[in-house]
């Protein structure tokens, strides 16, 4: 079962190797190969999970509530798989990008540190350990977002850092209270203790602190400010990676915490989640509709779509949670791809601004297809993956009679459609505005399309294999809604 730790240890090893390597060329090769390995590992883990239900590793051989447990269940392995898929695609993209700029020689170190943090967060079964992985993730994201050190990057970076820092402090405070209340850090043990506990102030306060901390990380309303302030300033490779992964770790933790041990007082929490979800969707969608920088449009859409995921959690039925997971993973893949495509467009046209873009449909039809797949998937157009995600969520909402939030969700999806069409019409369909100077020398190699094509394929597969994928998410949701399984698996494996 040491294999469970590989998603953490593999990036760690890669970091060590990269620290000693000075050649950018070898660093890139290691980066791509390492990411590929990571992807294979997570595929294997998913296979293992589908055979064993849940994989548990007690690190250091210390019994469950005492040591740190690493747990891979369906949710974890799905998230791992999606994340490592994105990491793989982005690493290929970065392969080109690292060559272009020499200052980025350390890029892959931070890249893998981020991966390590993300993976750690997905598989950790211990609250404090999760905090540590969050910090790993956060710090490497700080570094990545400010790479290049342009003025606006620093500016965005500072906002990003400030608000995320507050989040991690609140996280730590919540964790302290949780330990103060229960005397344990192991999630399974927490579930065992708290699920039998009548609601107490400390637990609720701690849950609230976690809610806000993860809320900031997840970028829900009104805590999302850091995201639109910073995402578009970073290098597009970094933004793509962040767009795909970072906020979704927050979603993951919210799902994990509020299904595993903060299950008391459900009425309050679910309503709070639903209210947040509604505002998040609408505000994100509205804000996206006014933007003309493609990266900003997409950034605000991240927020808007976070709302859907949170909505799934707030509705809190197996179907809704399966929907939230489905939506999350679909969104990770599609969103990353739209950003990568914007990166390619930037390479071709030298700008991200819709006002200066045009003519891409004619010039780069293949790129147009890739964009259509991802954008229409995001807009929820059937039979692409986004449709199923929305279908499941809305079905769950209607069945559980959450009409208001469903109305909001439906109307918001019109906003998504609006923005996607806006990009499509302006960047692809219309004629290139004459005032834009396009550098004719820039050649886009097939290699540049590769990661995007990979992700588009992933998006398509999620749509085509929606049935199979939905089964997995449903299994994950059922597992989540029965914390007993988790508790049993973690606390009894040593006996």
């Amino acid at each position: 079962m040491t294999l469970i730790a590989l998603p953490i240890l593999l990036p760690f090893m890669l970091i060590i190797v990269l620290v000693f390597i000075r050649s950018t060329f070898y660093a890139k090769i290691i980066g791509v190969i390492g990411s590929a390995l990571l992807f294979l590992v997570s595929v294997y883990l998913l296979i293992l999970v589908s055979h064993n239900e849940m994989l548990v590793l007690q690190v250091g051989g210390w019994e469950a509530p005492y040591g740190i447990s690493l747990v891979v269940d369906y949710l974890s392995s799905l998230m791992l798989l999606a994340a490592s898929f994105i990491v793989f695609a982005v690493s290929i993209y970065a392969y080109r990008f690292v060559k272009a700029k020499r200052g980025f020689s350390m890029f892959f170190i931070f890249f893998f540190a981020l991966t390590m943090g993300v993976n750690g967060a997905f598989i950790s079964g211990d609250v404090f350990n999760l905090y540590v992985w969050f910090e790993v993730m956060m710090l490497s994201s700080f570094v990545l977002i400010t790479m290049g050190a342009k003025k606006e990057q620093l500016e965005g970076g500072i906002k990003y850092l400030t608000l995320n820092l507050i989040a991690s402090l609140l996280f730590l405070a919540g964790l302290g209270l949780l330990y103060g209340k229960t005397g344990t850090l192991n999630m399974a043990h927490l579930a065992q203790i708290l699920n039998n506990d009548q609601q107490s102030i400390l637990m609720n306060t701690s849950a609230m602190l976690f809610f806000i901390a993860f809320g900031i990380k997840t970028a829900i309303f009104p805590l999302f400010f850091w995201l639109p302030a910073s995402y578009h300033t970073a290098n597009i490779t970094v933004t793509s990676l962040f767009a795909g992964i970072l906020t979704k770790v927050g979603v993951y933790t919210l799902i994990r915490f509020f299904t595993l041990f903060f299950v008391q007082n459900g009425y309050f929490w679910h309503n709070l989640l639903l209210i947040s979800a509604g505002f998040t969707m609408v505000i994100g969608g509205m804000a996206a509709s006014i933007q003309y920088d493609t990266r900003r449009i997409l950034s605000y859409h991240i927020i808007s779509q976070i709302g859907y995921m949170i909505m799934g959690l707030g509705i809190y039925t197996p179907l809704a949670i399966a929907g939230a997971i489905f939506f999350t993973i679909h969104n990770m893949v599609a969103k990353t791809n739209t950003f990568l495509i914007m990166g390619i467009i930037k390479k071709i046209k030298g700008t991200f601004y819709l006002k200066d873009l045009g003519g891409l449909f004619k010039e780069k039809p293949f790129l147009a297809i890739l964009f259509v797949i991802s954008a229409f998937a995001l807009a929820g157009i059937p039979p692409l993956s986004g449709f199923f995600a929305k279908f499941i969520l809305i079905k769950a909402g209607i069945e559980d009679k959450h009409y208001l939030i469903i109305a909001v969700a439906v109307l918001t999806s019109m906003l998504t459609l609006y923005s996607m069409i806006k990009i499509w019409n302006q960047a692809f369909l219309r004629v290139q505005p004459s005032k834009t100077k396009v550098d004719e020398r820039v050649k886009v190699a097939v290699f540049d399309y590769l990661p995007s094509a990979l992700l588009a394929l992933g998006s398509l597969m999620l749509g085509i294999l929606a049935a199979q994928f939905f089964d997995l998410t449903l299994l994950a949701a059922k597992q989540l809604l029965d914390p007993g399984i988790y508790v049993e698996a973690v606390l009894n494996t040593m006996k």
Partner: protein, 138 residues
């Protein structure tokens, strides 16, 4: 600072700091100390010397780049997992063995000690890198 007195003192403080740092790491398992404290102490010595002389001077004197200390530290930490992997125990399980020599007596050595040394080197390297880069700008 460019003070002769401070500069002279570095030589003697070096012995004190480094030996105390090592003691802190080795004794850390049983007494106050450990990799962090040791690493920070070791780094503080270099901080002090670069105050007494100048950062650039110390940077030149230091043969090994701080990045490599970091790498070494992380490597040590990684290597400390190897015994557990090789012996088939759960990952990161501490593997201990006893050196029984007539001269020193019984000494218990284990992979956690190696891990602690990893922490030591990392912390040292990190602090040095902080020091060098934060004062690099002028």
């Amino acid at each position: 600072m460019n003070s002769v007195i401070l500069q002279i003192a570095t030589r003697y403080l070096k012995v004190l700091f480094l030996s105390f740092a090592c003691i802190a790491v080795i004794r850390g398992h049983n007494y106050p100390g450990g990799g962090f404290i040791g690493g920070l102490l070791a780094a503080l010595y270099i901080v002090y010397s670069s105050l007494a002389f100048s950062v650039q001077q110390i940077r030149r004197q230091l043969k090994v780049k701080p990045q490599y200390y970091i790498g070494l530290g992380l490597l040590c930490a990684l290597l400390s997992f190897m015994p557990s992997l090789v012996s088939g125990a759960p990952l990161m399980k501490g593997i201990w063995f006893t050196i029984d020599s007539s001269i020193i007596g019984k000494i218990k050595l284990g992979s956690p000690l190696l891990f602690d040394f990893g922490v030591f080197f990392t912390v040292m390297g990190v602090t040095l890198l902080f020091l060098f880069t934060l004062s690099n700008h002028k």
